[in-house]
Symmetry: C2
Subunit: 307 residues, 2 copies
Amino acid sequence: VKGEFAAISAIRELLPVPPAEVGIWIGDDSASVEVGEGRYLLLAADTVVAGVHADLELTGLDDLGWKAVAASVSDIAAMGGDPGYALVTVAGPAGTDIHLLYEGIAAAAGSFGCPVVGGDLTNARDLVVTVAVTGWCTRPVARSGARPGDEIWVTGPLGGSAAGLRLLAADAGAARDGPDEDACRRHARPIPRLAAGRAARILGATAMIDVSDGLAADLNHVAEASGVGLSLDAVPVHPAANRDEALGGGEDFELAFCVPAGVDVPGAFAGLDTPIRLGRCTSEPTERSLGGRPLPLAGWEHEWRTN
Amino acid sequence: VKGEFAAISAIRELLPVPPAEVGIWIGDDSASVEVGEGRYLLLAADTVVAGVHADLELTGLDDLGWKAVAASVSDIAAMGGDPGYALVTVAGPAGTDIHLLYEGIAAAAGSFGCPVVGGDLTNARDLVVTVAVTGWCTRPVARSGARPGDEIWVTGPLGGSAAGLRLLAADAGAARDGPDEDACRRHARPIPRLAAGRAARILGATAMIDVSDGLAADLNHVAEASGVGLSLDAVPVHPAANRDEALGGGEDFELAFCVPAGVDVPGAFAGLDTPIRLGRCTSEPTERSLGGRPLPLAGWEHEWRTN
């Protein structure tokens, strides 16, 4: 067994199945615990490592803090939930500029309405920032509910974050405007799509995921969890990005969701950016196609070896 | 500003004050959120780093996983709460034995009744395991409620974990029994005092903390948060430990708590290990004494520099 996704499957097998009130657990964006009639507590955690998820020569320590909060809050958005509270744990070298790091953490927590209430501080060689968040939801939208015939939508164009990283790596300090500036902003300070996640839940989304590993990899997660195939017509590419970045670049944090055919998605998103239709779910569970050709499944995956 | 505790104070200043329902936040063992009449959601997170909190030449990867869960669940115990659910995030080298690590995590989660429901897996040079936990409580016991005249108690003898580390470092593979065996078990597989925490809350504890940094340092946290002095008569030393280990060794995970004078603590703990009286809180906020002499405040503190 090799790779992050295989390791996550192995971990799910190693752990006891949680009690019945835990309707959604390992393998989705957030876990979901029913805490009352139609009231669900969402729980999610994400880790950002300097040098792996963020290059501190290209973006700031404040941006790293922002991204750690954004990645976890995006897991709440991907269930259609509202954020609750954040716990921030920082392991890192003694000289880490805590002030700058927490400037970004505080700015993100304020922007997304997810106050930091606690955490931990410890030493390690790499800077490792883990953000655990709670959320609330009346109907958590899992990855597993898509049905053949459902339409697949995404909340915005893709590849912007990967394009931003490419642009910053070429010239970190360049003055930019237009799509390039937007791409760099998407890389440094991504914004979870909380309002869009709520809108998708309300209009009856059957499955949802945030685009964190790359569109193809993330839609593949939905297809595997739901037991459906994917037939995509086209992929919306961010104006600063190329097609590979749109399909395989991670950390866009747009939401991809499935809805029964015929639902008026643009109408339900009035006042928000209009989602873009990607294609539909099919009854052939192994199908992964884009414009009638095989969908390339490359995406971001950490290295893990398990026996 | 220097050191972990100063950095935590600085972080508390950098973050906006959370909303009113968050009665307890950074600076206590858990954060507490009132989610209904007399119903509090507790949130805590702890990070264990290989080479910092656990020496993998002395104890196993499964023990490290156990300790990460135990440390976080102990933060729930220290509020007098019941554990809810755990999120486990692992950052580490690709070759880390996930199976062995999660064996310890699953065993601890099962033992303490705190199911793992999610998390994250990513790469870093050091193995960094963060466990975020939820808990429930009807009256969270903060560090800040001690009053002059309150008696100070602890749920068991101290220094066992530090003694266990010393014994393992001298000869990791030695056969042991009696107090030495117990000390090594306390170091490798500490057990949070959940039942004792509940008993202390029920009998009316005014303040509580888990002994994770070392008794003197942790009681100092209570005294500072409560604005009281400390007058200790004696410190119960684990039979395998010495006095320095009892005062300064961290990770015992016993609970120290304050109660109004006259409360029948042994009676309220019938069926549990009988707590040991340490001394009392005084009205002189700077007093830190043990047997009439100054209390040495050395304890575990991570290195942080902040400007």
